[in-house]
């Protein structure tokens, strides 16, 4: 990893209009992604983690320009592709690929595996001897070249994801965006795919953007991690720094909520931050700090008035919080402290 930038995203924003019928085209929008800035360095894996509706998948699609941003800028390998037309994007497309969560629904059931993987060659007219190349790819992702003429339904979930990986690799891209690639798989198979991705990264010097809701998966694969909440990046840091000492209370809550097998059984002895209430609506996100409605460290008159900017901590560690977590793991009292949000639990 040489630290050179491959993707740079500045102030990235995406609003989706709320559909309200023919005669009432309202001005309400879903704030899916709001002012996200980050860089992806060559050869690294940037993890983006967050719960459903936090905008992580939208961010991924904006980066590879499957969606057009409402605001901000996307620079890929020195080229500004923020508003490039789909036609003009085609040469760039070869260099960035995507792997999806549900391998089955992203594979055409009427085409054989060979045809599916050879497809990118045809679209981009680069390889003449597609067949040989496809066989090589199949072998590299742990499938047998004999699978060339089989159809997607004949494969298990893990094998289908291998097919998805092979297809993404076909054009030797620089960047692969993986959107929840292992969420639909059983744990034993999940590890196979994670190892495969890791091996491929080393071999082909790939850069990954890895989207997941699973904090343990993210930790295994990522060099750096961005934590998203309600469309914004609330914390961004080197993987180890983030897990050793999360600064943002939301990250802390996420980390503490993950059940761990090392607890040795026996129930609820472990301390965890239980967040109150529900995720606010992205149509009408909270003012000031977006997390203040659920934050255990919320200070009235400050957090609900003044929006925190991303602040630097040690190294590249940044977090957007007025009252960041000073010590990790935090004390019992602090764990149970709660803002004026009712949950009924307890």
């Amino acid at each position: 990893m040489n630290g050179e930038t491959l993707v740079e995203v500045q102030g990235l924003t995406k609003h989706f209009p709320v559909k309200q019928g023919v005669f009432a085209r309202g001005k309400q929008v879903v704030h899916a992604v709001e002012d996200v800035s980050l860089t992806v360095r060559r050869g690294e894996t940037l993890g983006i983690v967050g719960e459903s509706g936090c905008g992580k998948s939208t961010t991924a699609r904006l980066i590879v320009r499957l969606l057009e941003p409402t605001g901000g800028k996307v620079v890929f390998d020195g080229r500004d592709i923020t508003h490039t037309s789909q036609r003009a994007l085609r040469p760039v497309r070869q260099e960035m690929q995507m792997i999806f969560q549900d391998p089955y629904s992203s594979l055409n059931p009427r085409k054989s595996i060979g045809q599916i993987i050879a497809e990118p060659f045809k679209i981009h007219h680069t390889e003449k001897d597609a067949r040989t190349r496809v066989r090589e790819l199949l072998e590299r992702v742990g499938l047998s070249p004999e699978h060339y003429n089989r159809y997607p339904h004949e494969f298990s979930g893990g094998q289908r994801q291998r097919i998805g990986v092979a297809r993404a690799l076909a054009l030797q891209p620089k960047l692969i965006v993986c959107d929840e690639p292992v969420s639909a798989l059983d744990v034993s198979v999940q590890a196979q795919i994670l190892n495969l991705l890791k091996g491929l990264q080393r071999e082909f010097h790939l850069t990954f953007v890895f989207i997941s809701h699973d904090l343990s998966v993210i930790r295994q694969v990522s060099d750096r991690i961005a934590v998203m909440y309600l469309g914004r990046v609330v914390e961004l840091a080197d993987s180890e720094l983030l897990y050793e000492h999360p600064r943002h209370p939301y990250t802390a809550a996420l980390l503490s909520a993950v059940p761990k097998p090392e607890t040795n059984g026996g129930g609820y002895g472990r301390r965890r931050i239980i967040l109150g209430g529900d995720l606010p609506s992205p149509v009408d996100p909270p003012q000031a700090c977006i997390f203040h409605t659920r934050c255990p460290r919320m200070k009235p008159g400050h957090c609900d008035v003044d929006a925190p900017q991303l602040r630097k901590f040690d190294g590249d560690h940044v977090a957007a919080c007025h009252y960041p977590v000073e010590k990790w793991p935090i004390s019992e009292d602090e764990l149970r402290r709660r803002p004026g949000v009712e949950t009924g639990v307890d």
Binding site: G21, V22, F23, A24
Partner: protein, 321 residues
């Protein structure tokens, strides 16, 4: 909910306007030749043609002509509301002709509709509950028969058997309800059943399919897990969800029969609206054809409105969206 209804209402008016526009273009502008000649019937005199040109404003520019056409339709003409013009072939206002025919068609549709809705749903539910049993197979075999048997053949066969041979029912033709209620029913019972049969078959299959799909849903398992009786599970939870789509296609099916029950009306000689339309085509009575077409289209648009409102009423997810 009120906003929703208002929105659908406005939308319906727009649709009706577009329908009127298309009808106008199809009848007046698309065919080559003199529209007056077409509207005049079979053997017009020069004086008649001049009168028609004047009445239909054919002598004015396109937009004025259309303006009068729309104005007449929505606000009525000298013959009453809605303004549908004058039939030169029959020498009678089209509206009057339609008023005379409409009750026949409406009684036919209403009776058939009640029959097919009740029996179609009942057969569908029985079939779904007793899936893969003899009952199911017989019911679905019957449904296939209902869908594939031609109406004219069914009509003639039923007339032959129940009227000619068995003397159980009245024959063809129509007897007004006010004149002789017994004869009214006796003459309509066969057309009702024949017309209902096709829809009954469709509704039975639809109900069966919907109910089977619903019974596979997770919330049905929840209902069972609560300890509800199988009866409550199927009728309260299963049917509630699977009848919603049926309730919303029902008004549409009724509406399209307003001008569309041609074969039934012809076979049983009921002389309703569908019969009128087809008959007018044969006699080249274009104003009448135009009138029935407009009326039928407006009925479908209104039925659409009813279906939309019904749907919102039945499904809270639409209501609160």
């Amino acid at each position: 909910m009120l906003i929703y209804i208002a929105r659908r209402l406005v939308w319906t008016l727009v649709v009706i306007f577009v329908v009127v526009l298309i009808t106008f273009v199809v009848f007046f502008k698309l065919p080559a030749g003199d529209p007056a000649l077409r509207f005049a019937g079979r053997s017009p005199t020069t004086a008649e043609l001049a009168l028609i040109r004047h009445r239909l404003h054919l002598d004015k520019p396109f937009y004025t002509e259309f303006g009068y056409f729309v104005k007449n339709f929505f606000t009525g003409d000298s013959n009453g509301w809605p303004g549908l013009g004058y039939s030169y072939e029959g020498d009678i206002p089209v509206l009057q002709e339609i008023e005379q025919r409409a009750p026949r068609t409406l009684f036919l549709i209403a009776g058939a509709g009640i029959i097919w809705l009740i029996f179609g749903v009942a057969i569908g539910v029985t079939s779904a509950v007793k899936r893969r049993s003899i009952v199911d197979r017989v019911a679905m075999g019957f449904a296939l028969f209902g869908i594939s048997a031609p109406v004219f053949w069914l009509g003639l066969m039923s007339l032959f058997i129940f009227w000619k041979e068995l003397h159980w029912t009245g024959g063809s033709g129509y007897v007004p309800l006010t004149q002789n209620p017994a004869a009214f029913f006796s003459h309509l019972i066969l057309p009702w059943i024949v017309l209902a049969l096709l829809f009954m078959a469709v509704y039975a299959r639809l109900t069966r399919g919907n109910l089977l799909e619903t019974l596979g849903e997770d919330y049905i398992r929840t209902a069972r897990a609560k300890g509800l009786s199988e009866r409550a599970v199927i009728f309260r939870h299963g049917l509630r969800a699977s009848l919603t789509p049926i309730a919303t296609i029902f008004p549409l099916d009724l509406a399209q029969l307003v001008g569309g029950a041609v074969i039934t009306e012809t076979v049983f000689n009921l002389q309703g609206l569908g019969w009128l339309a087809v008959n007018s085509v044969f006699t080249q009575d274009l104003p009448t054809v135009l009138g029935v077409v407009l009326l039928g289209a407006v009925c479908v648009a209104l039925a659409n409105l009813v279906a939309d409102i019904l749907y919102a009423f039945l499904d809270p997810r639409v209501r609160y969206a």
